[in-house]
């Protein structure tokens, strides 16, 4: 027979004592454990480069995800619904702009149904805004139509291949994070300054190494390296994929090979996701070296960050430069 006294102790029912014990555990834990963490700013970057920069600037105050894996060509990322899912909770969308992501980002933005990151909101950040007046290269002049291929009407979007633009983007992201999270504004700005210093320290080394290679003329597969070439004072004498997104015509390739022979020594450059066989064919016919370079952070295993990206580019160019025929000597 149930005896209520079995559940009493020192005049208090056992259930009350258990309740008190649980309450102490909960409140005690509240004293010992850290309180609810300050919510981090959720950042979604379209590209691995931008994700890395946002991580450096945001530090522990942000959570960063990026959409396009570094080894993928960012022009043609499949707009998978799972990517839209990542954007649902974002407080800040950081994107390259200049219509690099036009084939997939608008779709994902619609599918995400996140009003915080829609155009015009504080949570939408077009990083091309970091480029000052005149900072955008290859803005088409005159009539633009698709006979010129999948051309970018607003200008060449591959500005992150000049690390000086990476510095500007870092500051831009810091300012926007400061707006979204004013309590940490100083930290964002300090980290952006630190990032700038880190890039500038390495930049001199990269410039010295590339400058010392004696490479002045490039043939590139895609118009991906214009900012890189402008930074390094290199001349791009031809583009294999002369109409962006369109396979080059044999006649164009033949003309380019002839041009390359006239200008040799040249270096042929392709990004890891380009049609390497076509680039190798051109390089072989010219008698030039082909350098396959990572076009983005994480494009290859060693390019673990934005700084390492340039390190790998330099290393690959040094290798190609060392191997090229010494026609000029």
């Amino acid at each position: 027979m149930l005896n209520i006294d079995n559940f009493r102790s020192a005049g208090r029912p056992v259930v009350i004592r258990i309740g008190m014990f649980l309450a102490m555990m909960v409140f005690g834990a509240g004293l010992v454990l850290p309180g609810p963490a300050q919510a981090k700013v959720k950042v979604v970057a379209t590209l691995a480069d931008l994700g890395w920069i946002a991580e450096q600037v945001g530090g522990d105050d942000v959570e960063v995800e990026f959409l396009c894996k570094g080894h993928r060509d960012p022009h043609v990322l499949p707009a998978k619904p799972s990517l839209a899912r990542r954007m649902k909770k974002a407080d800040l969308l950081v994107y390259n702009g200049l219509e690099l992501e036009i084939g997939w980002l608008p779709l994902l933005l619609d599918a995400a149904r996140n009003p915080r990151i829609r155009p015009g909101q504080q949570g939408e950040l077009n990083c091309a805004l970091a480029l000052g007046e005149g900072g955008i290269l290859e803005v088409p002049v005159g009539e633009v139509d698709r006979s010129q291929g999948d051309i970018h009407p607003l200008g060449n979007p591959h500005y992150l291949l000049d690390p000086r633009n990476g510095i500007a983007v870092g500051h831009l992201i810091a300012e926007r994070l400061a707006v979204l999270d004013p309590a940490a504004a100083d930290r964002y700005r300090q980290r952006a300054d630190q990032l700038a210093r880190r890039i500038e320290e390495r930049q001199k080394d990269w410039e010295t190494r590339i400058g010392g290679l004696g490479i002045r003329k490039l043939i590139v597969y895609h118009q991906h390296w214009e900012y890189f070439a402008a930074w390094m004072d290199l001349e791009i004498i031809g583009v294999i994929e002369n109409r962006p997104g369109i396979s080059p015509a044999p006649r164009h390739v033949e003309g380019l090979i002839e041009l390359g022979r006239q200008h040799n020594p040249v270096l042929v450059i392709a990004a890891t996701w380009n049609h390497i066989e076509a680039a190798a064919h051109v390089a072989g016919k010219i008698g030039a070296e082909l350098a396959v370079l990572p076009g983005s952070t994480l494009a290859v295993e060693e390019a673990t960050g934005y700084l390492e990206l340039f390190e790998v580019i330099c290393r690959n160019l040094e290798t190609a430069g060392a191997a090229r025929p010494k026609a000029d000597s």
Binding site: K69, H71, R72, D73, H75, V76, P78, A79, K80, P81, S82, A84, R85, K88, I102, G103, W104, P106, L107, D110, A111, R113, N114, P115, R118, P119, R146, G149, D150, G245, I246, S247, T272, W273, N274, H275, I276
Partner: protein, 379 residues
């Protein structure tokens, strides 16, 4: 002001030249174009030869369809999409649309998408493609083959399967991508009795898993319910069940590198009044074996599921949708897509009715082009 100058200004006004000049700063005149919608046109041109039906529209060249699309943000609350389609008249007999020169002009889609709903909800209002299966919501220029699979054409629609109403969308908080779409529509689409005032409705649950960086698996189910078009005015109902499975792989190693898409879809109509157990299915494979080249293989079936002996008896009224027997189809095509904006494909299609044993072999060449600012398509 001298008279000729005035005349010139009037001519400029009439010609619209000031609108061009003031495009960027015309708040005073209201002639700004900066808020204009994105406009695009898709065109499909077909040449076809039929081995066994050398008459009628199965042979010769024709415009398969033209679709004009307008897309724009309306205001902070809505985004709008408006799509006008022009297709050969035979595909739309009975529709109350404007007919001209053997073509039907009709609104394929005209809808608003809510932009700022709470709790991650989506809302679509207007005429929109109904999310039943993988193929039925596609516009013709998105078809993997020149024509819809026989099962889709027989039980749903041979072009985009659209109706007018409202649809709610919610994404499930699960570790994979899962979204549920539920709609109520007026019941104007092909399987519904358009004159019946009862609403039609349905839903679709889409589940998609990222298997690897390059591969996804989608498993989805669809359902719809509405007044049966086969019994106009009788208030008979039709339920339709569908399931589809898609495995998609797109190599990330190269721009426009190899890609493979395998899809299988089945649907089962359940008519309140009708004989047999109709059903249909199709399977297709699309393989990009070179940057600009795709190979497609397709197989499909639409089975009326009727007692064929009874169907042959005198006085048998037959069924709607032109489906009497057990249609089978086998397709192969080769597509050359030099850019995202044009493609040409050569296709061979073999049809056979397993009941009558009638068959047909068709050779099709189809060109597909897009001009203007056309939104990219979902994955």
């Amino acid at each position: 002001m001298p008279f000729p100058a005035k005349t010139l200004i009037y001519l400029m006004i009439l010609s619209g030249i000031p609108a061009l000049a003031l495009a960027q700063s015309s708040t005073l005149t209201g002639a700004s174009r900066s808020m204009n919608p994105a406009i695009s046109v898709n065109g499909l041109i077909r040449g076809q030869a039929s081995r066994d039906n050398p008459t009628g529209d199965l042979n010769g060249f024709k415009i398969d369809g033209v679709e004009v699309q307008f897309t724009s943000v309306v205001d902070p609350f809505w985004k709008a999409n408006f799509n006008i389609g022009m297709h050969p008249a035979h595909a739309h007999e009975g529709e109350e649309d404007a007919h001209a020169e053997g073509m039907v002009v009709h609104v394929e889609e005209a809808y608003l998408d809510g932009q700022s709903l709470p709790a991650d909800l989506g809302l679509r209002l207007g005429k929109f493609a109904l999310p039943f299966g993988k193929h039925a919501p596609l516009h013709m220029h998105q078809f993997p083959f020149s024509d819809a699979p026989v099962a889709i054409a027989a039980f749903l629609s041979d072009h985009v399967f659209a109706d007018t109403g409202a649809m709610g969308i919610v994404t499930a908080p699960v570790p994979w991508y899962s979204d549920l779409r539920i709609y109520g529509v007026s019941g104007e689409a092909a399987p519904f009795d358009a004159h019946n005032k009862n609403l039609a409705g349905g839903g679709r649950l889409t589940n998609l898993w990222d298997l690897t960086d390059d591969a996804t698996l989608e498993l989805s189910g669809s359902y719809l319910h509405g007044p049966d078009a086969r019994h106009p005015g009788e208030n008979k109902k039709v339920d339709m069940y569908g399931a589809d499975l898609t495995w998609k792989w797109i190599s990330s190693a190269r721009t426009r590198g190899p890609a493979l898409n395998l899809t299988v879809e089945a649907l089962w109509p359940d008519y309140e009044e009708g004989e047999g157990d109709p059903w249909g299915w199709y399977g297709l494979a699309q393989y990009r074996f070179h940057r600009n080249w795709w190979l497609g293989l397709g197989v499909g079936q639409a089975d009326a599921g009727i007692d064929h002996a009874a169907a042959e008896e005198p006085g048998h009224e037959g069924h709607d949708h032109g489906l009497e027997g057990d249609l089978r189809e086998y397709k192969i095509n080769l597509t050359f897509a030099p850019s995202e904006f044009s493609a040409v494909r050569a296709e061979m299609v073999y049809h056979q009715d397993k009941v009558t044993m009638e068959d047909d072999l068709r050779f099709i060449v189809q060109a597909n082009f897009t001009i203007g600012s056309h939104p990219a398509h979902l994955y």
